[in-house]
Symmetry: C2
Subunit: 308 residues, 2 copies
Amino acid sequence: MNKLLIVGTVAFDAIETPFGKTDKILGGAATFIGLSASNFNLQSAIVSVVGEDFPQEYIDLLKSRNIDVNGLEVVKGGKTFFWSGKYHNDLNSRDTLVTELNVLADFKPVVPDNFKNADVIMLGNLHPLVQSSVLDQLTDKPKLVVLDTMNFWMDCALEELKAVMKRVDVITINDEEARQLSGEYSLVKAAAKIHEMGPKYVVIKKGEHGALLFNEKEVFFAPALPLEEVYDPTGAGDTFAGGFSGFITQSENISFENMKSAIVHGSNLASFCVEKFGTERMVNLTKEEAQTRLRQFKALTQFEIELS
Amino acid sequence: MNKLLIVGTVAFDAIETPFGKTDKILGGAATFIGLSASNFNLQSAIVSVVGEDFPQEYIDLLKSRNIDVNGLEVVKGGKTFFWSGKYHNDLNSRDTLVTELNVLADFKPVVPDNFKNADVIMLGNLHPLVQSSVLDQLTDKPKLVVLDTMNFWMDCALEELKAVMKRVDVITINDEEARQLSGEYSLVKAAAKIHEMGPKYVVIKKGEHGALLFNEKEVFFAPALPLEEVYDPTGAGDTFAGGFSGFITQSENISFENMKSAIVHGSNLASFCVEKFGTERMVNLTKEEAQTRLRQFKALTQFEIELS
């Protein structure tokens, strides 16, 4: 089986949306990426850090999804990274209420030996130096390296971000971040500029408005599935990235055509993530549900048109 | 040839965007609808009203596109409807600076005899009573009646709007208007409620984020083409409606599958409209350009995916 190496936070989240609020629940980029990627036929490993307060049942959950946790460091006496946020009424924006880095502040990722030759590397949102240090540890050139990042690093670690961007094949960022990073309002122009900064492929996530995939010459768009109810957008972008990188890992094909399918798989899985708080929907998702919704995606987007 | 009857404003617009501003130029819903629909093989007529100040060259332009202007009343001594607006930096919102109804205030539409049996009726944005009075004059039941409207009528003529909605097959409105009309934030729920108000098909326009087509059971989505430059969104929604209704008129097919194609044609034509101020791009658009961009639309949206 092909191997997917995932780096990112494993965390506690406390979330408030117009539909309710949660206590501290399982969260973190690597968690959502790992759960999402586990829908494909692959071996994955998470490189991350948690504190002694992190429940064994959460670790067991990851293991049950065939996720290798040998790279998940547990710091004795340490506390797990904690994020708390409150979403606005339209769910498109949110305020961060609490960010406690805790053990994440001194995180030095160690890639397990058996994943130093992973086929695909998914660098979840973290300090760019941490992302770089993971790439430094690889023994074999991966088929594809995917980088997720956010505006926070553009504000406070731009040079380090630019350095790691030169080492990756795909970057996934949201529309506002693409505009900030490129200084261009048009997403077409923004993608072209970001492309020049390193990544051959630029994925721009637009939340409920879908996602764009650019290479130097081509562009592909997948909508978000229109949903009756959206409860909690937390983790949707990471779930998307997990579906994207998971499908690429399984299929061993990095053609633009196959990346289109990967974008659709990512969008499909993200559509489930938002239907419940935190990881709940992803944990209970069945293969049949994912397949049924893929059919809906086809019906939603595919058309026949005569060209003269 | 099949007949498309278009009702809506023919106007002067003065537009300011971050990229420049115009003096009074040709505008109006019926103008954009007519120019857009003229890309298809059909006969169309515009029912509208202008003042004596309306230049003959604009009337000649419409005629040159095979648009029957016998229903375009010219009021002696009257002044043409004038709208002026200023777009914000993101082009997604605008302030209306001036609205001078002028001859539009007393407009009583008269449908030319040879269009009382039109195949498709496109009711552009106008007072719902004016839209209704056009339907009253038809001698034959049309294949399809499409209604465009806006939040202004929801605020000040809601009962009249609801009455005309019961008489149409398709309604086109933007996402905010769909939410206002239905009281539902989710566009899936909004479309279901609007469907219950009359129209079998609900088209929700999301501007740069594309358009959704709903019937009772199905949903289809077409993105807006990602563009390098957007100069002026004025008329894009009407151009979309003109492409939609024009393609349906030409193809004589009101299946959901064919409506998907109509949505794509509408999106395709609207993508040109925004590239220049006012009607300029639509006036100079060639068949080859439209075909080339349709190919881009296919590449943008079509994918292969394995279903188990």
